[in-house]
Symmetry: C2
Subunit: 285 residues, 2 copies
């Protein structure tokens, strides 16, 4: 089985021991409910680090009042098995009181510009919670390398910007979105989907793929690409689109035309029954 | 002369070299315009660290629109001499673009509760700027120990809380306020005072001392102690009081009566001519 520690001191001791041996420390922050996407992150971390630390902490501050914190899947024993199988060296599973010793209304970090659009517009306060908990985890663990998934595109961009702005001494790596055979992006929330909803949810990937095909075929107008996304998702009447946007992949700013030297990304959020899903695809580099 | 570096890489290299030798790294963040109070901080840092790093960076984000950033004293050559004389090992003097690579409207940190009272009420945004620049300096330098002066009482409290909340791996030490022979707290802004104003400014220390004497003589009512402060400062008609408060020394929350187990601090801010000065004194531990 994998080693599990709860306290700041214990994880720091393990990291310090590794560091004394000149080993590179890798961290994969998770909220548990691990799936194949996480396993990919662990594999990437394993390839680049001598000590692979996975944090499992269901962070309340990134959930809004009406959101699914209460029903978010908690699968700790299964998570530990998956970590062990993936060759993770250490699981850091702190309590709420460890991460937020003076409660959740304490010191926070904010990344202006990237926090209030797209997911940040739909989920007020979400990215303040994300940035703050990631900063804490970086401060506690002190990794050389941290790995995130492209599935949460805005999140990894925001963390990169926070790291750059604050000069945090950590390298951030983003891994491609892991997908089911039918294209559905792997997500902890997929287990909420009934079989009909599970089938309908694949429309997100199909919509993104169509947009990408259009770009590959020469389409350059962002509004036209956006229209493809909206129309494609619209084919599944059980899927309620939250947003579909084509934006600058570096800044998330709106795009007129796709052009050289300006990478673009298509981002989708939608509700399938009561489950909210997101997905994205890079359209041009 | 003391070594001076401007870049993140250079200061990190020096710190990494020290760390490889098992040396404790101390940091004293300053905005330059060094005076005897800073020298005390350097001495304390020297006593507790193998490598003493002093940062000199006039941080614009902690100054408000109408404040004295433009006329804040810039005495870099003299600062370097003082650092050399005090046995400082390394001065880190970054440019604005180094500290704020994407401009000053970028990622920031906020410490709720301590940021919006007293100095934070008089100087909106001040403590966001302070917390953010200190977090950046900690991330860049990576000190084991950081030293601040008690003169900026609220600042050192806020930094301690930020460090605690974010689990930053740094020990914060606070040194007693250094004073001129007549009691005036040493400050970079004292050099703005003409000779009459310089004389009048000593009323702050006299007021705090009277309050302390009253407490030592048995006074326990915070409002009565506050009245002593206001009346004492009022004796100098050229001094315009901004605030005089007696608060919980740990939280800055208002106090009714001073009591056992509740340390109290008296805090003053006032304008002498166009120069704004602050001072404070612990009343009971």
């Amino acid at each position: 089985m994998v080693d599990v520690v709860e306290s700041v001191d214990a994880v720091r001791q393990a990291v310090a021991a590794g560091r004394r041996q000149g080993i590179r420390i890798g961290l994969v922050p998770t909220m548990g409910a691990l799936h194949g996407g996480h396993i990919e992150l662990f594999r990437e971390c394993r390839a680049e680090s001598g000590l692979v630390v996975v944090s499992i902490f269901l962070n309340p501050t990134q959930f809004g009042p009406g959101e699914d914190l209460a029903k978010y899947p908690r699968t700790f024993d299964d998570d530990l098995r998956k970590c062990a199988d993936a060759g993770v060296d250490l699981v850091f599973a702190p309590t709420l009181a460890t991460v937020y010793p003076r409660g959740t209304e304490s010191t926070f970090v904010e990344v202006p510009g990237l926090s209030d659009v797209l997911e940040g517009a739909s989920r007020r306060g979400h990215f303040r919670g994300v940035a703050t908990v990631v900063l804490k985890l970086f401060a506690i663990v002190g990794p050389d390398l941290a790995i995130f998934g492209q599935k949460d595109y805005q999140q990894q961009l925001l963390i990169r910007r926070m790291v750059e702005d604050l000069h945090l001494p950590v390298v951030v790596r983003t891994c491609p979105t892991a997908r089911e055979p039918d294209g559905l992006a792997m997500s902890s929330r997929n287990r909420f989907l009934g079989s009909k909803a599970r089938q309908a949810a694949t429309v997100l990937y199909r919509a993104l793929s169509r947009a990408k095909q259009a770009v590959d075929a020469g389409e350059r107008r962002a509004d036209r690409i956006r229209q493809i996304l909206v129309e494609s998702v619209g084919l599944e009447t059980s899927v309620k689109l939250d947003y579909a946007e084509v934006v600058d992949a570096r800044t998330l700013e709106p795009l007129g035309d796709l052009g050289k030297g300006c990478p673009a990304v298509a981002l989708l959020a939608a509700r399938v029954d009561s489950t909210r899903l997101i997905d994205n695809m890079l359209l041009a580099e």
